[in-house]
């Protein structure tokens, strides 16, 4: 379990993190969101003992990071922002070094290194200097060192930043494939990622925690939650249809852009069947029609800037 209580961090006159409290149980995958400079990385640096909090405490499975950093750090695997490594080393020598520091010797060390090399598909670059590797491989080397000791807590600062879609999927699969007794904290800008892997979402803005809920709950906060979007064939008169949808009692409002119409329900009512009934009646076959789960981008913007899309 991780317990963060009243964490505050001051850089000069700037308050990067302010009175942040958080409790995490094993099995949770936390998406740590917020605009750039909101204090995500600073918080992660304090969790891992790299920075000292100005005030507040952090405990990792009962080990206080301030009083007993080494015991806490033994349980943590950390991928810092940008996945820094010793670039003059090869993945092989680098991972062996990390394994040694993590206390593995001989056969166990070899087994651990082989294991993460396989997991991260690093075989083909094993003897190349890290500085010559592509961004994707570098990131994988960074992830490999973070999971080599099978840590109970995994802290990943923007693990998929700068990766191509295939690599992103690989990293997500890796996170989802971790055993369920771990705590994973991921910071990211990519909101689809949160929906894809995270069980819980925390949003920070200007150093303060503003949202703490599940990914689904967050989607529900979107004004798009429950809305229905229709994509119409080009020969349909959207304005005419609009005049027919607007008077419906369950409809609150609608937005037209080109051939797509988004209809917002009143009081979270189900409007899908009503609309499809109306379309059948009118003899219109839409190219597609779907109910929105909610747009995270929209909620994110709403929460962090106070305006919506």
């Amino acid at each position: 379990m991780i317990e963060v209580s009243h964490l505050t961090r001051q850089f000069g006159s700037l308050r990067a993190v302010e009175d942040l409290s958080l409790k995490l149980e094993p099995g949770e995958i936390l998406g740590f969101l917020g605009p750039n400079g909101a204090g995500k990385s600073t918080t992660m640096k304090m969790l891992t003992g790299f920075l000292v909090p100005t005030s507040g405490r952090i405990s990792v499975f009962g080990h206080d990071v301030g009083d007993n950093p080494i015991s806490a750090q033994e349980m943590i695997g950390y991928l810092p922002e940008g996945a820094p490594c010793y670039e003059d080393m090869t993945p092989e020598t680098f991972l062996n070094f990390i394994a040694e520091i993590r206390g593995f010797r001989d056969d166990e060390k070899r087994r651990r290194v082989d294991d993460v090399v396989k997991k991260m598909s690093l075989q083909q670059v094993l003897h190349q200097k890290i500085e010559t590797l592509s961004k994707g491989f570098k990131r994988r080397v960074g992830l490999a060192q973070a999971i080599i000791h099978d840590p109970k807590v995994l802290i990943l600062d923007e693990p998929t930043d700068g990766l191509d879609p295939n690599q992103k999927k690989q990293v997500r699969d890796l996170i989802l494939g971790l055993s369920k007794d771990k705590i994973v904290i991921i910071s990211t800008h990519i909101l689809e990622e949160v929906a894809a892997v995270c069980s819980r979402v925390v949003i920070v803005s200007e150093g303060k925690l503003v949202v703490d809920c599940s990914a689904e709950e967050l989607e529900k906060q979107s004004r798009f939650h429950g809305a229905v979007t229709l994509i119409l064939p080009e020969d349909v008169d959207a304005d005419l249809l609009r005049s027919q949808i607007e008077p419906l009692s369950s409809v609150d409002s609608l937005e037209v852009s080109g051939t797509s119409i988004t209809v917002f329900p009143k009081d979270n009512r189900q409007i899908f069947s009503v609309l499809s009934g109306l379309l059948t009646q009118q003899g219109i076959a839409p190219e597609s029609m779907f109910q929105e789960k909610g747009r995270l981008e929209d909620v994110f913007r709403q929460i962090t800037t106070g305006e919506s899309a």
Binding site: F50, E81, C85, I98, R102
Partner: protein, 244 residues
């Protein structure tokens, strides 16, 4: 202990894979040769000892050691790998001492590679090999002092260039502290006791007897204290950076 060994191994390796090692050793050997034979009048003196070789070591170290020490922490801070290193479950002492030891062992290797000079004096005459050994040990200890200062300066800045220059300046102060030129400056208005303290801080004062082959316990103790003090300062600097 095993952490310390792992860090020393990694650091030492990185000297040799980056070719820094070979360039440094080459320059060190060439310059020590130039100093010994041209400036030190090795042959003209007609004495079978290595005094002309050792005498110039403080000056040689003045710009060669900062070149090694500047990367100790600045490079880690610049590349961000310091975040990796300092979040591994190791004591700060292991990181600081490990990096220092690797650099120190490395300068030891460079020093050992000057052995042809030792062969030469043994070929030409019958030198006091005990005195030569003392000279080597003393020179290595002094290099350690320079390196420890460099370690601290490197921890202060993320720029290797700044680390290099500041290290050079601080080392120069330590070398010159015992120089008559500097001491004369203070002579008239500073109490004798301060003057003595200042002079006793000097690398030069402690090294001059060593370079003649006299390795006294007092001088050894001096250089060891310098190393310990500056490594402690390095740890303090790292701790301050963690909190500020």
């Amino acid at each position: 202990m095993s952490h310390l060994v792992a860090i020393v191994k990694r650091e030492l390796n990185s000297y040799f894979v980056t070719h820094l090692a070979y360039v440094f050793i080459l320059i060190f050997l060439i310059l020590s040769g130039v100093f010994t034979f041209y400036l030190g009048n090795f042959f003209e003196r007609g004495q079978a000892d290595l005094a002309p070789f050792f005498t110039f070591h403080p000056w040689l170290y003045l710009f060669l050691v900062p070149a090694i020490s500047m990367r100790l922490w600045s490079e880690e801070r610049k590349s961000g790998s310091i975040e990796l290193l300092l979040t591994l479950p190791i004591r700060k002492f292991d990181a600081v001492a490990g990096k220092f030891l690797a650099a120190w062992i490395f300068t030891g290797i460079a020093l050992l590679l000057t052995f042809p000079l030792w062969l030469t004096v043994n070929y030409l005459g019958e030198p006091d090999n005990g005195a030569i050994l003392a000279g080597y040990l003393g020179s290595w200890l002094m290099a350690g002092g320079f390196l420890a200062i460099g370690s601290c300066m490197s921890a202060l800045s993320r720029s290797q260039v700044i680390a290099f220059i500041v290290t050079g300046l601080v080392c120069l102060l330590f070398v010159l502290a015992g120089f008559p030129m500097v001491l004369n400056l203070f002579e008239d208005w500073v109490p004798m006791i301060v003057l003595d303290a200042l002079a006793s801080l000097s690398f030069l004062a402690h090294f001059s007897s060593i370079s003649k082959g006299v390795l006294s316990l007092q001088d050894v103790f001096y250089f060891v204290s310098v190393i310990v003090a500056w490594l402690a300062a390095t740890m303090i600097v790292l701790e301050i950076k963690r909190a500020s």
